[in-house]
């Protein structure tokens, strides 16, 4: 196996488990000094061998490493360049600021890094590599999991953790007790007799390899789970003004992103009404202006004809309707205005959603009155919840709550361009065919309105009155079928990881034989594959338990520890 030759001695290799105490099973983490991998050039050979070569390369540790690096690198641009999925408005303004980069960035998918082809390619390669890694390892592990503990090396005393003594107990008695003891410690135990020498071999820590497998498998589960959840789910956003209702149907959404396998017919047919919206801000202290809480009072009807019920929708407290979740993710102001046209008729009356621009909720919005005659009317401008004059004599909002609401608008008359065919955003005023309302001296006329005030646009064009405001709630509605799969996957991954990083495989041998004097010489030795454990303490414990309270036999239980417990059993298991 290719991977095998890449891995230096001393590192866990699946194959090791099936073998006896070989050179890979050392005390401590002697990981250094592996010979640099000299990869053979692709043999100019028949397709099958070439394919095999490619497969080996793809599933090698080194490729996995490189792919991990690539994945990390590929993630970076998405955090530095605005992303369409996160903030379309930032992308738009970025494009405005850097018109020269737009084509290039668009072509490279830099505004959509995480769904770009190249990101997907790395992701896919990593998945294949992972699969190619798991399958052979699982086979090896399955064999190792059934394997018996390895035979004892001939020279136990060369192991780092080693003790010996002599006793009058018979060799087989010692062996029987050793076997019981090691079994009781939940080790896998083999006992056998080699030319009169009783050997008990035990091993523990098979879970390490299993943990590693579980971890990597769980990663696959997570990746697949996330993909499936995305395919069969949807995500949508809608802003609902207090007093208004939302019906869960495609047309109701401001923004809707279905997974490619999502069937629109599966939208849960619920309706909800935002009866009221409460928000509070810290009014004093350093945190002045920090929101301290907001929630929406909802009336929900699960499906037509169902009994309506109330729900208090808060951040961190979503509503769930038959697997579809509704989250409160933001809010804002909707100034209520009455627009009258040149003929004196009401052309528009009601709340208009303005979008908050900063933490003091200075909000921008557009008001359109397409029914106005003789010409259509349009307005754009700002809503100041707590209007004030700031340094530089500019109007500003000094607090997010509506303590002194003021509407400041620029008015236009003419053609709103709604009949041009292309759908128009409600937050954009197309002023191409419109005339700005100016003051007598030709400057743009700013309409500054406090609550209840009316501004006449002059020339019989019409008027606008600022009646007050409503609040609106930004709702995110989503359905993530199977969202538990990735969750469970991550939990399994963590469990596997813990096993893989903290389980310490250990082999223990107890050998007893009768010496020339007719007494029994007992040797106990242990070997860890990874460092961090204390095999000497383990040996000491086994010795203490085996010798029992019968007191010291006459031998010297010298722990013959070597300073450098490298003790590789080159002359392995001739037993």
């Amino acid at each position: 196996m290719r991977r095998q030759s890449e891995r230096p001695s001393g590192v866990s290799r699946p194959d090791d488990f099936a073998r006896t105490a070989d050179d890979a099973y050392v005390v401590g983490e002697q990981q250094g000094g592996g010979p640099p991998d000299r990869r053979p050039l692709p043999p100019a050979l028949r397709p099958i061998e070439f394919a095999r070569w490619i497969w080996r390369q793809l599933t090698s540790m080194r490729t996995a490493l490189v792919l991990l690096f690539l994945l990390a690198l590929a993630s970076i641009p998405g955090s530095l360049i605005p992303q369409t999925r996160i903030s379309p408005s930032e992308v738009a303004s970025f494009k405005q600021r850097h018109p020269d980069l737009v084509t290039l960035f668009d072509r490279l998918g830099l505004f959509n890094v995480y769904s770009s082809v190249w990101f997907g390619a790395i992701y896919l390669l990593l998945m294949i590599s992972l699969l190619g890694c798991i399958v052979p390892r699982a086979r090896v592990y399955a064999r190792a999991a059934r394997a018996r503990p390895p035979k004892a090396p001939r020279r136990l005393d060369r192991l780092g953790a080693y003790e010996t003594w002599t006793t009058d107990e018979s060799a087989s008695e010692v062996a029987t007790r050793a076997r019981g003891l090691l079994k009781s410690q939940r080790r896998r135990v083999d006992a056998y007799d080699v030319d009169g020498t009783q050997v008990v071999a035990a091993e523990k820590g098979y879970l390490r390899e299993a943990g590693n497998l579980v971890f990597h498998l769980a990663l696959l589960v997570v990746l697949v789970g996330v993909a499936v959840t995305g395919l069969y789910g949807f995500k949508g956003r809608v802003a609902v003004i207090t007093g208004n209702s939302f019906q869960n149907a495609l047309v109701s959404y401001d923004d809707f992103t279905p997974g490619s396998q999502f069937d629109i017919a599966n939208l849960a047919p619920f309706t909800l009404t935002v009866d009221d919206f409460h928000v509070s801000w810290a009014r004093s202290g350093v945190g002045r202006g920090t929101p301290t809480g907001f929630d929406a009072d909802l009336t929900v009807t699960d499906h037509p004809g169902a009994q309506p019920y109330n729900y208090d929708l808060r951040v961190n407290h979503p509503l769930d309707v038959d697997g579809t979740s509704v989250f409160l993710i933001g809010h804002g102001y909707a100034p209520v205005v009455t627009v009258k046209d040149g003929d004196g008729n009401v052309a528009y009356s009601g709340p208009v959603i303005f979008l908050p621009q900063n933490s003091s909720f200075l909000s921008f919005g557009v008001i359109k009155a397409p029914d106005a005659s003789p010409t259509q009317l349009g307005f754009q401008g700002y809503f100041f919840p707590t209007a004030d004059i700031c340094t530089g004599n500019v109007p500003c909002s000094t607090f997010p709550d509506a303590d002194n609401p003021v509407l400041s608008l620029i008015a236009y008359s003419g053609n709103l361009g709604l009949d041009k065919g292309a759908a128009q955003s409600v937050y954009v005023l197309d002023t191409q065919d419109m005339k700005q309302i100016k003051t007598a001296d030709g400057k743009p006329r700013a309409l500054i309105l406090s609550k209840g005030e009316t501004a006449d646009l002059g020339d019989g064009v019409g008027s606008i009155r600022f009646d007050g405001y409503e609040r609106w709630a930004q709702l995110q509605v989503s359905r993530q079928p199977g969202k538990l799969v990735p969750l469970v996957g991550v939990l399994a991954a963590i469990a596997g990881l813990l096993g893989s990083l903290f389980v310490r495989p250990r082999r223990t041998w107890v050998r007893s034989r009768t010496d020339e004097a007719g007494r029994t010489v007992v040797e106990v030795a242990a070997l860890d594959r990874v460092s961090g454990g204390d095999p000497k303490a383990h040996v000491a414990e086994v010795v203490a338990r085996l010798r029992g309270p019968t007191g010291p036999d006459d031998a010297d239980p010298q722990p013959r520890s070597q300073p450098k417990p490298e003790a590789r059993e080159d002359e392995e298991s001739s037993t």
């Binding site: 990981q31 080194r62 996995a64 490493l65 998405g78 202290g285 301290t292 961190n316 961090g532």
Partner: protein
Amino acid sequence: MTETMAHLSNNAMYAATIVYTLAMFCHVAEWALARSLPADAVADADAAALAAAAAPASAVAASAVVTSSPAAEAMSTGRPIVPPAAPRTRSAADDVERSDRYGRIGLSLTVLGVLIQAVGVISRGIAAQRVPWGNMYEFAITGSLAVAVAYLFLVRKYHVRWLGLPVTGFLVLVLGIAVIVLYRPISPLVPALHSYWLMIHVSSAAIAGGAFTVGAIASVLYLVRSRLEAKAAANPDLPRRGFLWRAPDAESIDRVAYRVHAFAFPLWTFAVLCGAIWAQYAWGRFWGWDPKEVWAFITWVAYAAYLHARATAGWQGRAAAYVALCGYATFLFNFVGINLFGSGFHTYSGM
């Protein structure tokens, strides 16, 4: 009550900074005194024991009195007389002891500093009536507490007092910046932050971060030490003196670094998971590739790469250590860079 607690917290932070500074100076002294010490110099008591076995006491006493003033001094202070070997060894033994004493004082001061800092962090939490990680200042004081605790834990477990100087240096730096530059009075938490998942998320991230920091410091020491060893191997005459030579060998340092990282990585995985669950509750999606999330992911991948590198031929040792440091750089960038310059849901740095 709130006022008192806030005051207590601020004063505790000042006090902790000062205590850590003293601890750092002690560790500087520890290094300085070991500057000319050979790698294998031992302390007085041990030297005496060795000497007793080596030479007849009377002869030793005579030669010592004649040849070395330190020895004479030792006699006048009633300390055991030490051996023939050389006057140089004598004063070296003294230095060993003094260096060691400063190291121990440094460690004691660090323990004291941690206690004071813990009081500061907890009283900040009580004063704010919430968990103390609402802004950069609170991140810094809580995060550095995690670093200090991780260090003390490792000192107990693996005897890593040789990390003392860089760790205390780091603590002084971070707390200093926190107290002087980042300080913000207590303010309430935005609603999205009121969540148990967030609490678990941030505490596990803080602990993992503390361990990553100690791991990174250990990796740097490993790189320095292994360079020294490589130089010494190329040039056997090179004197092996100074604190770094007296620290454990490169391999042992590497092992400690690995263990710390192996502890931190699953915890970080868990922290990211809790973050995702919290994001689900707060914003209706587990994962949205928000900059903060992206960098948490990058950190995760980088440390996974580190664990892999340790098992890949040609990537062990120094190369793996560099990968770990890259991982730490991404962690720091997430903490500092994204909080300061980033946008997105996660930016509550309060700057």
